[in-house]
Every structure is written in structure tokens, then in C-alpha cells.
Amino acid sequence: MAGNSDLQLSRRKTRDKSFALLVVGFVLLMPPIVRTSLFEGHIFGIPYTVFYMFSVWAFLILGAVIISPRLRDEDKSLQSNDNDKASGSD
């Protein structure tokens, strides 16, 4: 029982993290926060605004790379319905 609830807890945590990532991405890319990138200057020769935008984007991708594989569904019954297709076509 304890192991099961631990598993559920960690799943919920992963889900929460994924949601947090989404919210953070949304807030960073939408006004008013995105206005903070209206800042004259260059980083590595790239205008700050452009750099900001692509950095947030990269951050979102990185977050998804880390979180998504752990968000697998516990319900295996619907993982693949290709089997019935394969048997149906034989």
C-alpha cells in the first residue's frame, strides 16, 4: 500500500511539475512579463529581445524533455491498439 501511494504521489508531483512548466512558459511569453525583454542591448551579438524569446523557448523544450517521459500513463490497456489492427488484417 505504502509503495503504491508513494508511486501515486510521485506521479502527481510529476504532473504538477509539468503544469508548473506550462504556467511559467505562459507567463514568461505573455504580456506584461514579456515586456521586460524590450531592452536595448546584445547578448553574444544577438539582440536581447530575440535572445530572451529563444531562451524561454529552449527552457520549455528542456523542461518537456525532462518531464514528459515520466508522465507515462499508468493505464496500459490503451497503450497500443495496433495489435487488434494487426490481427484484423491477417
Partner: protein
């Protein structure tokens, strides 16, 4: 300069390659599934059909005109995919569980398999897809015209449209797949996705590192206004564009097709959640540099929408230009193919099929092959859709910037969002709400954005555009009800999507869903709870198996239908012939058919054969709706709480017993210390007297010493008894049992106490005949018990002529030894306490032992599977009874 012939040859070769890939994969999957086709990478690449020629050419144009704004078109999808767990996963799950074939199918299924909704969604999809296809034709035509200078745009666009229609018809409608998947097309699309990505990156790298000198050089001396697009870049338009792109990645018919319908495994989605944003990242990272380099290098009159192509051409890089052209060609063709498949599926399933059904219903004798009809209708639909795209291109004159056309389509499909998202998360959404929202939203979209996009050449005149129809200022399409000062796009989105959502919610609140609608709503909203496509409720079995089989044959084809029915028959235990038309068979058939022709048509067909009312009052009871679920949940809760209560009660009882035992233990300890204290006190005091008075007479001191001696013996005996009882009660000792003759044991015990009896003048009588009767006991211990009971009888007998009567008798199972005396016995009040430790008879003298004899005796008897009890005779006198098990 790149020659037209080389270009055409390269294009032809590329198209042949696509054909070959699609053909080979299609052939192979027919034999057995190809594993790599199931890989999440292929899935992601097919989703990248989102990046059309609008991205390939138009994003650069957009970046050159409006700076960073183009990025919103990719941020929306990124957010949707990063948050896949909340929306996409549910869509995919529903799509698989209910064999959804298109977005129109999903929406119509959700709202009770409504065919009117399916038609409505299909019409909107066709209308919204038309400008998008026109956009692709336009970009390919224009890029072709760059190389083939002077080519007629209409002719070029026509041939491009015709070629694409051919490819789509060949590979998109080869078969009516069980679940509407097109492996060959997916493989070709994936190849195109790679080509367009590489082409764009190649041009980007070339612009950044060969024309310019790295990123720093690209951005050097670029005024901020260019990057930020002049006005306030992060205004309402930024939000609306992100919203639109996020919506489009879900609602565009072709995106729905690749993301939901072509999905094979849910884990593909987990990978796509980061791989697709990464793909978009790769596609866009060089957009800004290409635009900026183009602005610097190219003449001011060059169209920024074609920088990707013209930049390499202007710098004499023909091979790169060719690659770029193929990239643009790839992005256009992949979009057109998938969009045409998706929309033609909708048209044939939701518009052609219902009409065909009507005709079939009117004439039962016609055994028309529905399957052929479907395929033909799909092929015709594809041709019509591409024709419409061509027509749009022709009418609108193809003069606008690419981005504007794409956005028209985005707003069009955004009308699906309220019904779609509302439908899968909100049980209360109703069909009428969805229809009201869609009709109003689509109408407003057409009026505020779609018709104005023709620039006054189609339905709305330019005068009506500027001053409102009939000169009514308040109806100006781009300033409806006087809402001015907004970007036309923002204006259109606010009106169309806003009114759509509002009507959807309000009308849903005020209308009652039908029975099937409620059922479907529950199945969709709770898709994670109901495993798979739960069977829909069905008719009373009026269907004939033959009719159902004929229907299946017509749609699925003879062999697949045969297989399906054989399988269902086998499941019913019928080895030969057709299965009984049970509800589950009908439901299964409907689900299979839905995979080919959509839920609404499948439902209509099966219902027509199965006949009459689909859902009756009885079935309503079975509907797993809210009430039922609540009842079920509360029943489980009640069960749980009852179980908890039981446990609590048991715990209370156990706790009570523990408390009693604890109290007894305390009592016992205090008794023990009290009992030990009495002899100890006398021993100590006599010893002190002897120590202090050295001149005590010898006879006195010897008397004192003998008292000390006696008390020590009593102490020792007491301690022995305590030890004995604790061992016996804890069951820590196993008495060794042997065969004992009860009579002999009794007689020996009487012999042992004969000294006391004689001294006390007690007359002892033994009656009963148990000679030869044997029991299993420990001889010594049994004697100890007998002696204890007998000596008690002597000790506590206050009678003048004490008598003891030992009465023995045996039954089949037991031997009873009763010890009866005339000493008054134990009163009923005392009876419960005689076996308690340290309890002594009320008539006992002061120095009569510690009161452990009876508890020990009883513990011994119980350890020997017997017992010692206090019994009452009829006259109220009491006696002790020793019970032994007979062997």
C-alpha cells in the same frame, strides 16, 4: 541562373521519390506492420505538417515586416505540446477509444452523434481550408515564377493543384482503413518534413555565415524597430496570435488528422511533446537572420516572402536555391495532401454518406456497394477541395502577404475550440449550444475576416467593406458595432471566438441534452475512467444478423467483414455462421464502422437496420451518468465507513480487555507485595529483637528463631506459588501428560492428607465407581490439585462435625470428581472471586495461605485439558468439581 528544365527535372525526381516512399511503405504495411513507422520521431515529423510554405517562405516575410511577431505562430503550439498531458492526451485517448476519423467526427460524436453538427463542422473546415490551400498554391506558384520568369501564374497554380490532387487521391484513398490511417502518406510526409527543415537550415546557415559573418554581424546596426516590428509588439495582437496558433495546432483538420487520427501509441505523444517544439525551434532559429540579411542585401522591391529562395539566387548559389525550392515545395505539398485527406474524409463521411443513406433507405432493393461509393466520394472531394483552393487563389488574385491568408484559416478553425474543449471537459455542454456557437462564430468569422480577405471582389463590395453594407456604419465588417481601433485580426477573433464561446456556454446551460448525447458526453469527459470504447446502449434485438453482415460487407469489404463476424461469432461460442445480434455485437459493429465512415453515419446505418428507438427508458438506467456514479461512489464510501466502524468496535473491545488485564496486573502486584510484606515484617522484627537484646533467654530466642524459620518457609512457598502460576498462566510450561488412573490418583491424595483429616477429626467418604477409568494427566500435578482442594475442604470447614464427601463418576467423555463438604461452602456472591489470586474464603482464618491455591489448581487443570469449577447443588450448597478428559 537556375534553369527551368533543371528545376522541373529535380521536382519530378523528388515527386517520384515521394511516390516511391509512399508506395513501398503502403505495400509493406499491408504484409506486416513496419516498426519504425510507429516511432515517435515519425509521428513528430508528420505533425510538422504544421510548418507549411507559410512557415517556409512567409515567416521570413513576416519577420522582415513585423519583426519578432512571427514567433508567436510557433509559441502557441509549443505551449500546447509542452502541456500535452491536459488536452492533447485526452483528445488522443478519445480519438482511439471511439475510433474518431476527423475533428467533425469528434464533435458530432460528442454531441450525440449528431449529423447536423458533423455537416456544420465539415462546412466550416472546408471553408477554412480553402484559403490555406490557396496559400500553398500561391507560394509554390510564386517561387516557380521566380525561376521560370514570365510563367503564367494561373496555369502554374492549376497544374500544381492538379498534381497534388493526383498524389493525394492515389495515396490518401487507397483503402478505407479500419481506423483511417495512411501509413504511406505518413512516411512521405515525414520525408518532406526532413527536407524542408534541412532546406531552411541550409539557407539560414548560408545567409548567416556566408553572406553575413555570423549572428553578431547579422544583428549589427539593426535598429530595434526592425526587430520589434515598429509598434508595440507585445500588444493584443501578440496574445491573439499565440492563442490562434495554439488553437490551430489542435483544431486544424490536418493537425487533428496527424496528431489524433494517425496516432498509434500514446507514448508517441510524450516524445512529440518536446521533439515537436524542438523541430519548430529548428525551423525558426534562422528566420530572423534570413530576413535581416535579405533586407540588407536584396533590392528594396524584392518580396520578403521569397527571400528564402531569392537570396541564394541573387548570390549565384543555384544548388542551394534548388534545395530551397524543394523545401518550399515539400512544405506546400505535405500540407495540401494531409489537409485534403482530412477534409475529404469529413466531406464523404458527413455529407455524401448521409445522402447516400437516404437514397439507400428509400430503395431497399438497391444493394449498392457503400465502400466504392465512399472511395469515389473521397476522391471527388479531394479534387473539389483543391479546386476550391485554386478558385480562391484565382479570385483573391493572390496578391496578399502569405501570413494574412494563413491567419484567416486559423481564425476559421478556431471556431471549433469552444465545442471541442468544452465538449471533452464539460458534461453540461449540449448539441444546441455547440451548434449555436459554431454558427454564430463561423458567421462572424466569414463576415469580419474571410469575406474582407477578397478585398471587395467577392460578395462584399469594397464600398461595403469601407462603409458597411447598405451604408450602415455600424455593420462595417472590420469595425463591427463601432468596435474600432483594433487590428482587423484581433477584431475578428474577439467577435467570432468570443460570441461563439459565449453562445456555446449560455445555450448549453439553457438546453437539455438528449439521452445519447448525455451518454456520449459522459464517455468523452470520463474517457480515462471508461476503458476503451464502452459499448453504446442499443436497441432491443430486432436486428437480423444477415442485414448487419451485408452492411459490414458494404463498408468494410467482404473479407474484413467476414473476419469481424467470425471473430464475434467465436466469442459467442458459435463456430460456424453468424453471431447472434446481441447488443454488444451491434455496438462493436457500429464502432468498427465508425472507424471508416464516422460515428454519426455509422450510428445512422446501424440504427436503420437494428431499427427504431435507439435508447429506451431501460437503457437509460444503465447510462453511466453522474447520478449513477455518485450513487456508486457513495455506496463504496458507506461500505468503507461500515468496515471502519467494525474495526473500531473490535478495537474498543480489545482495548477494554487490555485495560481490565492491566488493572488486574496492578491489583496482583499490589497483592503480591502485600502478601510478601507480612511475613517479611515479622521476620525482620523478630530478627531485630534478637539483635538488640543480646540477653534474651535462650528459650525465647529459639521460639523467635523458629517463627523466623516458619515465616521464611511461608515466604518461599509463596514465591514458589507465584512463580508457578505465572508460568502456568503464560502457558510457558508444557505439562508432560501420561496415562493416569483417576481412582488411584484420588485415593493417593486422600492418603496424603489423611494426617490433617485425622487431626481435624474430619470424616471422609468416597463414593462412585471410576475404577479402571483412565485419563491423560500429569500425575504429580493432578495430585497437587486434589490435595489442594481436599485440604481446603478441611481448612475452611467450620462445622462441628466436619464431613467431606468425594463423589466420582464418569461419562463417555469426562471424569468428574466432586469434593463436597458440610462446611457451608462458598456463597454465590463469592463464587466469582474464589478463583482470583489472593482471594480467600470469608470464613478463612488469618494465617491460611496466600490465596493462590485455587488459581494455581485451575491453571493446572486447564493445562491438562480439564477444568476446576465451583458448582452449586440444587439446595444451594456449593462444591468444587474437577473435570478430567477421559481416554
Amino acid at each position: 541562373m537556375l534553369s527551368v528544365n533543371i528545376l522541373l527535372a529535380a521536382c519530378l525526381a523528388y515527386v517520384v521519390l515521394l511516390f516511391a516512399v509512399a508506395f513501398i511503405v503502403d505495400q509493406r504495411t499491408r504484409e506486416r506492420p513496419i516498426n519504425w513507422l510507429h516511432s515517435p520521431v515519425i509521428y513528430t515529423l508528420s505533425i510538422s505538417v504544421y510548418c507549411t510554405s507559410w512557415t517556409f517562405y512567409g515567416a521570413v516575410g513576416s519577420a522582415a515586416r513585423n519583426g519578432l511577431e512571427f514567433i508567436t505562430i510557433y509559441l502557441g503550439p509549443t505551449l500546447v505540446f509542452v502541456g500535452w498531458w491536459w488536452l492533447l492526451r485526452k483528445l488522443v485517448r478519445i480519438g482511439r477509444a471511439h475510433r474518431i476519423t476527423s475533428i467533425a467526427d469528434l464533435i458530432s460524436s460528442r454531441y450525440g452523434k449528431s449529423s447536423s453538427l458533423a455537416v456544420l463542422v465539415t462546412l466550416i473546415a472546408v471553408t477554412a481550408t480553402t484559403p490555406y490551400i490557396a496559400l500553398q498554391l500561391q507560394s509554390v506558384t510564386r517561387s516557380y515564377q521566380i525561376i521560370a520568369v514570365g510563367a503564367d501564374s494561373v496555369t502554374t497554380a492549376f497544374w500544381i493543384a492538379a498534381g497534388m490532387a493526383l498524389f493525394t487521391i492515389l495515396f490518401g484513398t487507397r483503402n478505407l482503413d479500419a481506423n483511417e490511417r495512411h501509413h504511406g502518406v505518413v512516411a512521405a510526409i515525414a520525408l518532406e518534413a526532413v527536407v524542408k527543415l534541412l532546406a531552411l537550415i541550409a539557407v539560414g546557415v548560408y545567409a548567416t555565415y556566408f553572406v553575413a559573418d555570423g549572428f553578431a554581424d547579422v544583428f549589427a546596426n539593426v535598429p530595434n524597430e526592425v526587430i520589434q516590428g515598429g509598434d508595440d509588439i507585445f500588444g493584443p495582437r501578440w496574445i491573439i496570435l499565440t492563442f490562434l496558433s495554439a488553437t490551430a495546432i489542435i483544431c486544424l483538420p490536418r493537425q487533428f488528422q496527424v496528431t489524433v487520427v494517425e496516432n498509434i501509441e500514446e507514448k508517441q505523444l510524450a516524445t512529440a511533446s518536446w521533439l515537436f517544439p524542438l523541430y519548430l525551434f529548428g525551423m525558426t532559429i534562422f528566420i530572423m537572420p534570413i530576413a535581416l540579411v535579405g533586407l540588407k542585401v536584396m533590392p528594396p522591391d524584392a518580396n520578403p516572402d521569397l527571400y528564402v529562395l531569392t537570396l541564394p539566387l541573387a548570390t549565384e548559389r543555384d544548388e542551394l536555391a534548388l534545395f530551397a525550392f524543394l523545401g518550399g515545395f515539400s512544405s506546400a505539398t505535405s500540407m495540401v495532401i494531409v489537409a485534403a485527406i482530412a477534409v475529404s474524409t469529413m466531406v464523404s463521411n458527413h455529407i455524401v454518406m448521409p445522402i447516400a443513406l437516404r437514397l439507400l433507405a428509400a430503395n431497399h432493393a438497391v444493394s449498392g456497394d457503400v465502400r466504392n461509393l465512399l472511395l469515389i466520394s473521397r476522391r471527388v472531394s479531394i479534387a473539389v477541395i483543391l479546386g476550391l483552393g485554386f478558385l480562391y487563389f484565382y479570385v483573391s488574385g493572390g496578391s496578399e502577404a502569405l501570413a494574412a491568408i494563413g491567419l484567416i484559416a486559423f481564425v476559421g478553425v478556431a471556431q471549433f475550440l469552444p465545442s471541442l474543449v468544452g465538449g471533452i471537459f464539460w458534461r453540461g455542454a449540449t448539441r444546441l449550444g455547440a451548434i449555436a456557437g459554431l454558427v454564430a462564430g463561423a458567421g462572424l468569422w466569414a463576415y469580419t475576416l474571410f469575406l474582407p480577405s477578397f478585398g471587395g471582389h467577392f460578395i462584399l463590395s469594397s464600398d461595403a467593406l469601407a462603409n458597411g453594407p447598405w451604408g450602415l456604419d455600424i455593420l462595417r465588417p472590420q469595425a463591427l458595432l463601432g468596435l474600432t481601433g483594433l487590428d482587423p485580426l484581433v477584431h475578428a477573433v474577439i467577435w467570432s471566438v468570443g460570441v461563439n464561446a459565449l453562445l456555446f456556454i449560455v445555450v448549453s446551460c439553457f438546453t437539455q441534452p438528449g439521452i445519447l448525447e448525455r451518454l456520449q458526453g459522459t464517455l468523452f469527459v470520463d474517457v480515462y475512467r471508461s476503458a476503451g470504447g464502452a459499448p453504446t446502449t442499443q436497441t432491443a434485438g430486432t436486428a437480423e444478423s444477415e442485414d448487419l453482415f451485408i452492411l459490414a460487407q458494404r463498408i468494410l469489404g467482404t473479407q474484413p467483414a467476414r473476419d469481424l463476424f467470425d471473430e464475434m461469432a467465436l466469442a459467442q461460442g458459435i463456430s460456424r455462421g453468424l453471431p447472434h445480434p446481441t447488443d454488444s455485437v451491434v455496438a462493436r459493429l457500429e464502432r468498427e464502422l465508425a472507424g471508416s465512415i464516422g460515428a454519426a453515419s455509422a450510428h445512422a446505418m446501424v440504427t436503420r437496420i437494428a431499427g427504431g428507438q435507439t435508447v429506451g427508458m431501460n437503457e437509460l438506467i444503465n447510462i453511466a451518468d453522474e447520478t449513477q456514479e455518485l450513487i456508486e461512489t457513495s455506496r463504496q464510501l458507506a461500505e468503507k465507513s461500515a468496515a471502519l466502524e467494525r474495526t473500531a468496535r473490535q478495537l474498543r473491545v480489545v482495548n477494554e480487555r487490555l485495560r481490565t488485564l492491566d488493572a488486574q496486573k496492578d491489583e496482583f502486584l499490589s497483592q503480591v507485595s502485600h502478601e510478601l510484606r507480612t511475613p517479611m515484617t515479622s521476620v525482620r522484627s523478630f530478627a531485630e529483637i534478637l539483635l538488640e537484646n543480646k540477653d534474651t533467654p535462650p528459650e525465647t530466642s529459639s521460639r523467635f528463631l523458629s517463627i523466623i524459620h516458619d515465616e521464611s518457609i511461608r515466604l518461599t512457598r509463596l514465591l514458589d506459588e507465584i512463580l508457578d502460576i505465572s508460568i502456568l498462566e503464560a502457558g510457558r510450561t508444557e505439562l508432560i501428560l501420561e496415562e493416569v488412573e483417576a481412582h488411584i490418583a484420588v485415593m493417593r491424595a486422600i492418603d496424603t492428607i489423611s494426617g490433617i483429616t485425622h487431626k481435624a477429626g474430619v470424616s471422609l467418604e468416597v463414593t462412585g465407581d471410576i475404577k479402571g477409568v483412565k485419563t491423560s494427566a500429569n500425575d504429580d500435578r493432578l495430585r497437587q490439585v486434589l490435595i489442594n482442594i481436599l485440604s481446603n475442604a478441611v481448612k475452611y470447614n467450620a462445622s462441628v462435625e466436619p464431613e467431606i464427601h468425594v463423589r466420582t463418576h464418569a461419562t463417555e467423555m469426562f471424569i468428574f470428581i466432586d469434593v463436597i463438604d458440610n462446611g457451608g461452602g462458598v456463597s454465590r456472591e463469592e463464587s466469582s472471586s474464589v478463583f482470583e489470586k489472593f482471594a480467600r474464603g470469608s470464613s478463612a482464618g488469618s494465617n491460611q495461605g496466600a490465596g493462590l491455591g485455587l488459581p494455581i489448581s485451575r491453571a493446572i487443570m486447564r493445562a491438562m485439558n480439564g477444568d476446576l469449577t465451583l458448582e452449586f447443588a440444587k439446595d444451594g450448597s456449593s462444591f468444587f468439581r474437577i473435570t478430567l478428559a477421559r481416554i
